[in-house]
Amino acid sequence: MARDSRLELLIRGGPDGFEVREVSSASAYLQFRPRRVPDHEWELAEVARGEKGHGTFVLRNCRTDRYLYLSEQERFMWQQMDGQASLQDIATSYLLRFESLDLEVIPALIGKLQGADLLTLRLASRLRELLARHPASRGARPLELALRGLERLTLASHDVHERFVRAYGLGGYLLFGVPSVTVLVVLAAFGLVAARELAREAHVVAVPLARHPILALLGGKALVLATMAAHQIVHGLACVHYGRRVRAFGFTLLHGFLPSFFVDVTDMFMASRRARVVAAIAGPLVHLALGALFFLIAFYLPGGFLQAFVAASATLQLYALLFSLYPFCFMEMDGYHILVDLLGMPTLARDSWRFVRFRLGRRLRQRQPLSRTESIWVGYVGLSFVSVAIFVIATVAWLVGVIAP
């Protein structure tokens, strides 16, 4: 390991006229006094209390609207970062408070805070940006330019909160009460019955779709997109319902190719856990309501293209419901957010993957029992693989059925 770097400094003044002092990077690091951004630029809220009563917190940068999860230990260190305490002071306080110190904890937090612009280290942040570029890579640059171009197709309004408030006042509030839940349950029950009836004659109902495949495809896409917008709007209304701010609403190409609507309700991080769960589940329930409604309409429509289209759209809504609520496979859909809130494990996907990848093998070899948290991590990764396997098997079986009935 290379010795820590040293700088020679000449300091003028004093009885001898000057002094030459050697400063090592290690001692400079210990004397580094991280200073958090001014108090009005950040907000901290407790989001979960996990095992052993330890809390998890979310730290929000009000200026950039970036959010970070902090453990109890990280919150403690964040509170020390007032520009007065050096890292040495912080490490000492940490040791006194928690009775142990992992030497990686402090640099890891500093990196995290720098990345979220929560420390007043502007120059360092620019340096990070500069060093993060990879000009040598031939393929990366055109790909990056193409993706950036596609990402620029995002259409967003950042001045939507008042509109959501107005929509909420004009009737949006009705969605968040016992009557609306009752209506949804009844609608879902009737929809289920209608779906079952339609499924019995699926081979007849679906035939007219094949006569107008382009119309069916385009109409289906347009309807799904419209219902995705409704899904996002309901998330926004839920955000207003719980007194938080809707930051943006718009249209984008997700990952550069998937047309999608989005709503920025990250301010919900500052609300209670129950509120976050309700807001996360409210969006997908739009698909349940529409799916049930479409099945009912299709049931009463006479046979033909319209009936087939409405029935197919109802089925797509159910797929959209399942997809939105799917919590596994490291896709952070609504279902994932609900799951992590219910478990009180905000970094579930990342922690699960790290544990399974780097530590599980050693734990199994040493035959050490897993804690509850570790079992959840293993379960998450396991269920991710199982669900993908089920999806692949079901798709192959369906294709085999279609090609060779």
């Binding site: 990077s25 400079a28 690091y29």
Partner: protein, 168 residues
């Protein structure tokens, strides 16, 4: 006696090593000695002047101001090493401050005398400038090393996790 001792010293100085005896003698006669007390400043960054100095005894610190009374030490020069060679060529103000780290003695060769000497013997001048070029190359390499070292220092001192940042 003094001139003889000086000649022996000058022969050991890299840039003068290839010069013949007569030329070296002429050079020795044109060098002006100067003594400095510890802490005395030979010149400061931004000062005018086109003199070339050769450290005869002691050590000199080459530094650049960075903050208030703090300067970064760029080099520590000992006997036989040159000072002021950059301004000798470009005529621009001094690029750094030079301070005696200990009691020191330097020889000064001003621009006019250097010109006289080079005009008197172009062959000797070529040898002198060739050696000076080698000194510049060595300094350039050292500057590159120093830049890398300062960058490493900055990264270590701030705990900046560049490797992880690059993977974002």
């Amino acid at each position: 006696m003094k001139a003889t001792a000086d000649l022996a010293f000058l022969r050991a100085v890299g840039v003068f090593a290839e010069l013949d005896g007569a030329y070296l003698q002429a050079l020795a006669e044109r060098l002006r000695p100067r003594t400095l007390k510890r802490g005395e400043v030979l010149f400061r960054e931004g000062d005018g002047g086109r003199e070339l100095y050769v450290v005869r005894a002691g050590t000199m610190l080459v530094s650049k101001p960075v903050l208030g009374h703090v300067e970064q030490v760029l080099a520590r020069l000992g006997p036989g090493e040159l000072i002021g060679d950059i301004s000798l060529f470009d005529g621009a103000p001094r690029s750094a401050t030079v301070t005696a780290e200990s009691d020191a003695e330097v020889y000064c060769l001003d621009h006019e005398n250097l010109q006289l000497l080079t005009e008197a013997s172009p062959r000797a001048a070529a040898a002198f400038f060739f050696q000076l070029g080698k000194t510049f190359s060595a300094r350039l390499r050292e500057s590159g090393r120093l830049v890398a070292e300062v960058t490493r220092w900055g990264l270590e001192a701030t705990g900046l996790d560049v490797e992880s940042t690059g993977r974002h």
